[in-house]
């Protein structure tokens, strides 16, 4: 009998294979979820991420653009030394005075970040007399409440840790770059050596051991303020920062709801 295999058998077999394949992802997803809960990312044993809420604030008025924070970050986290790999960097904004008679409130806006500000900044490119405002803005992961980078990751390699850090599992990242495209703040890059996405982790290996992030530790003017909102007493610098300043976040219209707040920010900062 030649035609013992019917089309029904074929379709049934195909259906069974597909159903079998569909259960695999379920099992693996469950396993990944458990792994994530454990937050294995460089945290010591006994660290409970649900008992902390890490956050950073930036006081723009205090930043002097020395760039030590950028260098400290690169060293601490083995960030590639190239010109386009930064977990944190500093921008200098120069807003010139308006030309007389133009009726403008302010003049040109010049923005620069040579080598991410790591070696400081050279002299002003315009005569000092022409400068209306000049200030430095440290940038890093904006710690979004609704992170677009987490939303778009196809495998869930980047995730919101319960303690507020947005982390990447380098063992899981497939290096597609979608998160880098989705970050509105340019805070991510593809590490040319590991071929995975990389970003600020708030120095997770340090903060989970009771230390401050490297950039906060070295900042000579305390322009970067770091704290744990779940455990900060009222006199804690981070509480003081919120009390003393009216704050802004970057690109609020995107609905990412950043938890990185800036004090003393200008409208030109994006």
């Amino acid at each position: 009998m030649k035609s013992e295999i019917s089309r029904r058998d074929i379709l049934g077999g195909l259906g069974a294979v597909m159903a079998g394949l569909a259960t695999l992802p379920l099992a693996r997803t469950a396993k990944a979820a458990v792994q994530k809960l454990a937050v294995s990312a460089n945290a010591p044993k006994g660290y409970d991420p649900t008992q902390h809420r890490w956050v950073m604030g930036i006081d723009i008025n205090r930043c002097i653009g020395c760039g030590i924070c950028v260098e400290a970050c690169k060293t601490e986290n083995h960030v590639p030394m190239g010109r386009n790999y930064f977990r944190t960097w500093i921008e200098r904004y120069i807003i010139t005075k308006p030309k007389p008679g133009t009726g403008a409130a302010r003049g040109e806006v010049l923005v620069e970040s040579p080598d991410g500000g790591m070696h400081g900044f050279s002299d002003l490119p315009v005569p000092a007399a022409d400068v209306l405002h000049s200030f430095f803005v440290p940038k890093l992961c904006n710690l979004c409440e609704h992170s677009p980078c987490v939303q778009v990751c196809p495998v869930g390699a980047t995730f919101d840790a319960p303690d507020g850090a947005v982390l990447i599992d380098p063992e899981y990242c497939i290096g597609c770059g979608f998160c880098i495209q989705a970050c509105p703040y340019g805070c991510r890059f593809l590490n040319p050596f590991t071929r995975t996405a990389e970003k600020c982790t708030l120095c997770y290996h340090r903060i989970t051991r009771g230390l401050k992030p490297a950039c906060v530790e070295v900042c000579p003017t305390q322009a970067r303020i770091f704290g744990d909102l779940k455990n900060a007493p009222p006199e804690d610098p981070i509480r003081q920062f919120y009390q003393d300043n009216r704050v802004q976040a970057l690109k609020p219209f995107l609905g990412t709801d950043p938890r990185l707040f800036y004090a003393g920010m200008d409208k030109e900062v994006r």
Binding site: S3, R7, P25, P80, S113, V152, G156, C176, F178, Q181
Partner: protein, 406 residues
């Protein structure tokens, strides 16, 4: 140690104007020519399938000569669609994680499933049901390796009785009906990958999936016209003029809708002139001048619209030979134009900083994974696969069962 290693990053001098975030100032965009090809190839699949559905679902009899060719075109391109994606990954060996542990809020995570659904549940099944009768016949008549291949393709089902064939036809029809929304899903979803990126004003746009679907239909039909004419030329046969007329009529109307929606998109962008509009204007005028204004708009849209539109009015007065050349030219221009459109979307979206204060430059290189050589190879691959398919399934030497004469 790590620092010593990381210090030897090859420094490429940044090529940009204005201010761009340091992480954006790399030598070439993160997503380059491979990601340009990915939506292009996927679009061709979706379009070619829609073309085939015109015959199967909408009973456009005049298109029967290209029915099987369209389906095989869709399959050949579908098999190559994930390759550019795979090649561009930092860790291609982890690609199965996308299906094994999908992160369901990610548009990209759904690709594996949409792809698998489309390949296994729609296209392969439809082709199998359509070719089953021929496969059974060829498996007995063809000698040697080819015979074994056909026997394998029958997967042991050799019932070609009248009721069985009727059922085949009905299932094929049903699969076609399911296939149309699936094709839209396949490509609409590709548009959504870009349209959902709110960080990027060039991409983040609800019209993006619709534009992608429409341009996919246009490019797919154009590809079928192109393939059919090339195949006829290779076989020294005259292409069926009625079939070409009807195919290009559909091509023309699809192009009209596509051009209208894309124009609407631009009108909206210009009129609302939201944040970032200035940088987009600059892009259109400078960085993307050739690919956007000349490639996409003029060569890929206006010229074919004029050529095909005039033929809709004056078809009877234009001699067949001239008509055929105009059809071929239009199809080729559209194929180039849609490729330019994909380039403008993918590369264009990465040529300006998300700080909206500066623009980057990009020069496509020859060598390397992101060079145009690999791109050309990847784009030729589906044509090579299609040639094999034609040899296997549409060969003139095969005895005809009178069922589907593509």
């Amino acid at each position: 140690m790590t620092n010593e290693v990381t210090n030897i990053v090859v420094e490429v001098l940044p090529r940009f104007e204005g201010y761009v975030y340091p992480n954006e100032s790399g030598a070439h965009p993160l997503w380059s020519v491979l990601i340009v090809l990915y939506p292009y190839i996927t679009g061709l699949v979706a379009g070619a399938f829609i073309m085939a559905s015109l015959v199967r679902v909408f009973r456009v009899r005049a298109l029967e000569p290209v029915y099987r060719l369209s389906l095989l075109t869709a399959l050949a391109f579908l098999l190559c669609a994930p390759l550019p994606l795979l090649f561009h990954l930092g860790h291609p060996e982890r690609c199965f994680e996308v299906m094994m542990t999908p992160h369901l809020t990610s548009p990209m995570a759904i690709f594996g499933f949409v792809y698998a659904w489309y390949l296994m549940a729609v296209l392969l099944l439809e082709l199998w049901f359509d070719f089953r009768r021929d496969l059974v016949a060829w498996s007995t008549t063809e000698p040697g390796f080819k015979g074994i291949l056909y026997r394998l393709f029958t997967v042991g089902v050799t019932d070609v009785s009248e009721p069985a064939l009727r059922l085949d036809d009905r299932i094929g029809h049903l699969l076609s009906v399911i296939g149309i929304p699936s094709a839209f899903l396949l490509h609409g979803y590709v548009g959504f990958i870009f349209g959902s990126v709110k960080a990027n004003p060039w991409w983040g746009n609800p019209l993006m999936p619709i534009i992608f679907i429409l341009s996919a239909v246009v490019s797919g039909i154009a590809l079928c016209v192109f393939n059919y004419m090339v195949l006829s030329w290779v076989r020294r046969k005259t292409a069926d003029m009625r079939c070409l007329d009807v195919m290009t009529m559909f091509l023309f109307y699809a192009l009209v809708v596509d051009a209208a929606i894309e124009t609407l998109d631009w009108v909206h962008r210009v009129y609302s002139a939201e944040e970032g509009f200035q940088v987009m204007q600059y892009m259109a005028r400078e960085r993307l001048f050739y690919t956007l204004n000349l490639g996409q708009s003029l060569l890929g849209t206006l010229v074919p619209l004029l050529l095909l539109g005039s033929l809709q009015l004056l078809r009877k007065r234009v001699p067949e030979l001239v008509r055929r050349r105009m059809y071929f030219a239009s199809a080729s221009f559209i194929l180039i134009g849609v490729l330019a459109m994909r380039w403008n979307v993918v590369i264009g979206g990465q040529l300006f900083s998300k700080s909206l204060r500066g623009v980057m430059a990009y020069k496509l290189e020859f060598a390397g994974m992101e060079g145009w050589f690999i791109g050309a190879v990847l784009l030729s691959l589906p044509f090579i696969i299609l040639t094999v398919f034609i040899h296997l399934f549409l060969s003139e030497k095969l005895p005809s069962t009178g069922h589907g004469d593509g």
